[in-house]
C-alpha cells in the first residue's frame, strides 16, 4: 500500500556546542592549539561539521568567564552579550562576563569544524583562559547581525561593523514529506534520530537528530505521530525552530529540544 500522507514536516537546524577551557589555551575539544576548538559531529557535539558555514560570519561565538583575567580582551568589546550592560573594563575580563566575539576575530576552517578565536591585539581579539566556557552556535541567519539567541553583541556596530551571514545550507532548514518518514531511533537518553528517505533519491537515508530532555524518546515518538497525522490544511508542520523559540504543538509534549542536527545523505 502506498503511503498517501501529504503532510510535510519542517525542521530548522540549530547546532550548538560548548567547550570548557581545561588549561590555558588547551581545550577539552582535544585541540592543543591556542584559542582553537574542534566542533564535533556527534549527538553531544555540534552536528554536521562539513557545512558549518563558510566563515566566522556564519557563526555566533560567546565566551563566558569564570574569573577575572587582566588584558585578556580587545578594547572593542564593551558590552555583556547576555545583559547588554557595559563591562566594568573592556580589556579586563570579570567573572560572569559573557563576551560575544566579533566575526572578524573568528576563524572557521572550510570543512573540518576547527574554530579559532584571534588573540588579543589592542582593540581586537580575546585570550581564552582556564575555566572559561566557549559556546558556538549555527542556525539560519546566525552571525553578528542576529540577536535572536544571544540578545546583544559585545562590540557596537559603530565600532566594528557587524557582518550578516550569507551562507545557508540544508543543515539550516529542510522540509520533508511525512510519507518519507522511516523511523525514530533513541541514540542516547537525550538524543533521538529521525530517519527519512533520502532527498538525493538514493538508498541512504536523511537524518534529523533531535537533542532533547533526558528520557524523552517516547514523548518524541508521540509528538512525531501527532505531526505525521496532523491536519494542518496543507501547510508544513513545524517540528523544530529553536532559534525562534518555536516548539512542536506549542510544547504540549514537553520535549525540551535544544538542538536539531540535519544531515542529508
Amino acid at each position: 500500500m502506498n503511503n498517501e500522507n501529504k503532510n510535510f514536516l519542517r525542521f530548522m537546524g540549530f547546532r550548538k556546542q560548548s567547550f570548557v577551557v581545561t588549561t590555558n589555551f588547551v581545550h577539552d575539544s582535544g585541540h592543543a592549539d591556542a584559542n582553537t576548538m574542534n566542533l564535533t559531529d556527534a549527538a553531544d557535539g555540534f552536528g554536521n561539521i562539513v557545512n558549518p558555514g563558510t566563515a566566522g560570519t556564519d557563526l555566533i561565538v560567546t565566551v563566558t568567564a569564570d574569573g577575572a583575567e587582566s588584558s585578556a580582551r580587545g578594547s572593542q568589546y564593551t558590552l555583556d552579550a547576555n545583559t547588554g550592560a557595559a563591562f566594568a573594563a573592556a580589556a579586563n575580563v570579570a567573572s560572569g562576563d559573557v563576551t560575544r566575539i566579533h566575526s572578524d576575530d573568528v576563524g572557521l576552517h572550510a570543512s573540518d569544524g576547527t574554530v579559532t578565536i584571534a588573540g588579543v591585539s589592542s582593540a581586537v581579539g580575546y585570550n581564552l583562559n582556564l575555566g572559561e566556557t566557549v559556546t558556538v552556535y549555527s542556525y539560519l541567519g546566525a552571525g553578528d547581525t542576529d540577536n535572536k539567541v544571544v540578545p546583544h553583541h559585545s562590540v557596537l556596530n559603530a565600532t566594528n561593523a557587524h557582518a550578516a551571514s550569507t551562507a545557508f545550507t540544508e543543515n539550516d532548514g529542510v522540509v520533508l514529506p511525512a510519507a518519507n518518514y522511516l523511523g525514530a531511533d533513541p541514540i542516547s537518553a537525550t538524543a533521538t534520530r529521525l530517519s527519512f528517505k533520502s532527498m538525493a533519491g538514493t538508498a541512504a537515508d536523511d537524518d534529523v537528530l533531535l537533542v532533547h530532555g533526558s528520557g524523552k524518546f517516547k514523548a518524541v515518538c508521540e509528538m512525531m505521530q501527532a505531526a505525521l497525522n496532523a491536519d494542518y490544511g496543507g501547510t508544513p508542520v513545524i517540528i523544530t525552530d529553536v532559534a525562534n523559540g518555536i516548539v512542536p504543538f506549542s510544547g504540549q509534549f514537553d520535549l525540551g529540544i535544544t538542538a536539531c542536527q540535519i544531515t542529508l545523505a
Binding site: 551562507a167 545557508f168 540544508e170 539550516d172 529542510v174 496543507g234 501547510t235
Partner: protein, 117 residues
C-alpha cells in the same frame, strides 16, 4: 477522478524546447525541500527541491533550484508546500514559470531545472 496535483516548473524565458528547461512532476514524488542552492552548497537566496529521478532506477533524483528573495527562504519553503497541497480544479500546480512570470510564492523569483541529477 483527480489523482493528485502535478507540479510545473519552467526555468526558461521562452517556451521550453530542450532538456532541463522545464518539467512537470507528480506531487507525490517530491523528496523534500532544503535551504541552499544544492546539496552541501551554501547560498543566501535559494532553496532546493528534489523529486524522484525520472530514470526510475530508485537511485537518482530530479532537482529544482528555486531562486528566492534573500531573507525569505523559510517563507518560500512553506509557500511551496502549501501549493503542493492546494486544491486547484485540475490538479495543475504552477510552482515557478519564468516565461510567464507565475510563481506560487511572492518570494520566488526564478528556477533552474535538472530532471536527472
Amino acid at each position: 477522478m483527480k489523482g493528485e496535483n502535478y507540479l510545473y516548473f519552467n526555468a526558461h524565458t521562452a517556451e521550453p524546447a530542450a532538456d532541463d528547461k522545464a518539467m512537470m512532476i507528480p506531487a507525490s514524488t517530491v523528496l523534500g525541500i532544503a535551504v541552499g542552492a544544492i546539496a552541501g552548497t551554501v547560498d543566501v537566496d535559494a532553496i532546493y527541491l528534489t523529486c524522484e529521478g525520472f530514470v526510475g532506477d530508485g537511485n537518482s533524483r530530479g532537482s529544482v533550484v528555486l531562486a528566492v528573495t534573500e531573507g525569505k527562504l523559510v517563507e518560500a519553503m512553506d509557500d511551496v508546500v502549501s501549493a503542493i497541497n492546494a486544491n486547484p480544479g485540475d490538479g495543475f500546480t504552477v510552482i515557478a514559470d519564468v516565461k510567464n512570470g507565475v510563481y506560487c510564492s511572492n518570494h520566488i523569483t526564478g528556477c533552474t531545472v535538472d530532471s536527472a541529477v
